[in-house]
Amino acid sequence: MTPTCNRCCAEALRSRVHLLADDEHRDGPAMLGARKRMHTISEPYGSELASRRALTHLQRLEAESINIIREAVAGAENPVMLYSIGKDSSAMLHLARKAFFPAKPPFPLMHIDTTWKFRDMYAFRDRIAAESGLELLVHSNQDALAKGISPFTHGSAIYTDAMKTEALRQALDQHRFDVAFGGARRDEERSRAKERVFSIRSARHGWDPKRQRPELWRLYNTLKRPGESLRVFPLSNWTELDVWLYIYSERIPIVPLYLARERPVVDRDGLLIMVDDDRLPLEPGEEPMRKRVRFRTLGCYPLSGAIESDADTLPGVIREVLLARHSERQGRVIDHDSGGSMERKKQEGYF
């Protein structure tokens, strides 16, 4: 171990060794494949340690994100970190704390609350806000709530536009935030693969793919005209696996829903929807089943599909990600409305 390494690399390595050792006795054929990949991709995380000064892959990603967060704040008048309670938000918040240590991050957290999140998520959110000492702003689209817009009554497209896109616009306008951090990653979805790290938005919060600025080297253009704002994505270059490894090695707290447990679910068009509270209307004769499930991504519970899984520990989750053949957003109803739907949402101001 070189003295240049901080804790994360040591633990990432240890965790990998650990993951492999852990599993010695339960190798199925699928596991063999996963083990091979885990074994092998540990190289980029580990082998460069042989050279004296090289950073591990996770260390590079961490340093890049910290650099981005600092640059964004330096160019901001009134920054905010959008906090969605998910794993990516958790990693991003952790990076922000590192970026300004020993000071606190100089911005509040803001949760755009659709009011349909899992109960576990709300509990976790309040705990993290208290522990981090950062101000937590919560915003919901009150007009839409008053109109009774819900994922059941209006369909996922209208619901998402009202409770997420419009709610976000309202909140940014109300607080006059000029820079908003988001935890989106380029590997999540096709149109995000082309998103800039610093994404310029019009005064109407719209995203014009043709107006996005070229980003060369590590030089980010953080300037904006009056009314314009920037969405900043410090995790742009992280993959789902990177995020999980980082969470594991840094011991970052996450919502328990990411880990498998027996939960009540119903099957809706092939998606396993968890019956998190009594607002979920059951079809006549529909009985919630108890299944051992977990979530790869967390959104609104009526729109988040669970996967059947035995991964009840972080190492288990990481093993599953290594084996995964589907995109993590596969369980998101809103992405599948039609081809190019994310791009369209973004043009309208969605993250």
Partner: protein, 582 residues
Amino acid sequence: MAALEADSKRIGSQGADLDYALILDGLQAEREQGITIDIAYRYFSTDRRAFVMADGPGHEQYTRNMVTGASTADCAVIVVDASQGASIQTRRHCAVVALFGIRRIAVAVTKMDLVDFGEEPFRRVRDEVRAFASRLGVEDLTCIPVSGLRGDNVVARSERMPWYDGVTLMEYLESVESHNGDGDDGPARMWVQSVIRPEADPGFRGLAGTVIGGELRTGQPVVILPSGREGQIDRIVTFDGDLEMAAGGQAIAVTLEDDTDVSRGDLICVADDPAGVADQFEATIVWMSEEPLLPGRNYLMRIGTRTATATVAPLKYKLGIDTLEHVAATQLELNEIGVCDLELSTRIPFDPYRVSRDTGAFVLIDRMTLETVGAGMIRFALRRSDNVHWQAISVEKSSRAATKRQRPSIVWLTGLSGAGKSTIANLVERRLHRRGNHTYLLDGDNVRHGLNKDLGFTAADRVENIRRVGEVAKLMVDAGLIVICSFISPFRSERRSIRCLVEPDEFIEVFVDASLEVAERRDDKGLYGKARRGELVNFTGIDSPYERPEKPDVHLDTELLTPDECADRVIEALVEAGLIDA
């Protein structure tokens, strides 16, 4: 993959097979037009490595996107269609990649299926690409025949191309060296991003940034540019605890031992190898805006964490994109690359781009629209003297000489061989030494044994001999010395050019005059004899001319004066010129 299959049926150009291009061509406009407009970033890892792939468009009108991908790449894969051969596009790609300092290039010769997996078409493309790549100075170029349709030579070796025994594309990517010389070996620097001042600890001033190049250590002396202030690293602070040393690439905060006034945009450099500081540069610029780059116009220039105002001087030339040859031009249009001078509002710290991407690359931003309109690479600073790093207390020629109570100068003795130059020069130096002056004697014979031993006595070599002596004498003058030079130096023009190297009053020309007969009679080295016998050629006075000084500062007639008297005359002249005390 379900999403891809659905799309593939709708738009795909590959019949029932999946169209892999659809994975990359993410934006709707691109998918419908079947072209890649923007850069798409994809992530994958294999047995050996984790990769970030920036998929850049090939079309000429998207050069700006291509250079975006190139700016952070360690290695480039250029795709050439085997059925069409190397195109203008291919040349452009190679040129851009070479220009951005990517040293390793793989050329994937694709669509081998369209040329029946033949070796001949592959060789043709390979030789073509190699030919112009080598003209661009690209040495590390690997050509691989592939077919994306069924993955021939992409990951697995193709059975349909048994004639090919090189690496597959993936083998290449897994083994290619990822170091790209972007300062990772260079001296340590750090742009200050912000100053961290926690409420809880008002005395703490953490300078936040990412280390460039080598390591920073606690206790290390540093210099802050552009101010030139010196300091020492006290602590290296991170969330995970203090470090003794931070490596290149790490994001840290440092505190300095003295509470030095440092702010965002400053560059912390290791004191023994700091960056340069200048306000005029020659730079290569890639233009990325619909509005052309206009000479005389102001742009914001972002380099590291610093922003300055830059005025663009008239364009020197454009780069012809297939060969990087110079083409005359007055302005740069979208996607064109050119070289011009920039004049900045303030002095900024920098390294040339080839030394470090992080301190040599910049972007230009339009002051009105605030769009990023250009990307640039510093070639060098224009004012040579500024290229040496600037120090807060700059030690100059005058301050060096002041400690010696003298003014530096060159006392240049010229005359025929045997005229008595060396004798007089020695006497002059002894006198000056006695007076407490700091001198150095450069003598023709001595210099020719070392510095100039590669030079002969042709006219060209004589000129070079004197030119080198002049430069050495100039350095010594800069060091504050009185330099006595004793050289035949037969040509007026070269004596004049040495006079021009230093300030006008720092050069004293002493003509040691003796007629050829007298000099030849003195001939204690026997050189005239040899020359007369033809054993020496190009001997001054015999078969090579001596041009007498027209207005020497001191004229010594050695047929009338003794060597001691001559030396006295020289000393008197130095006093008179105010170069030494009376």
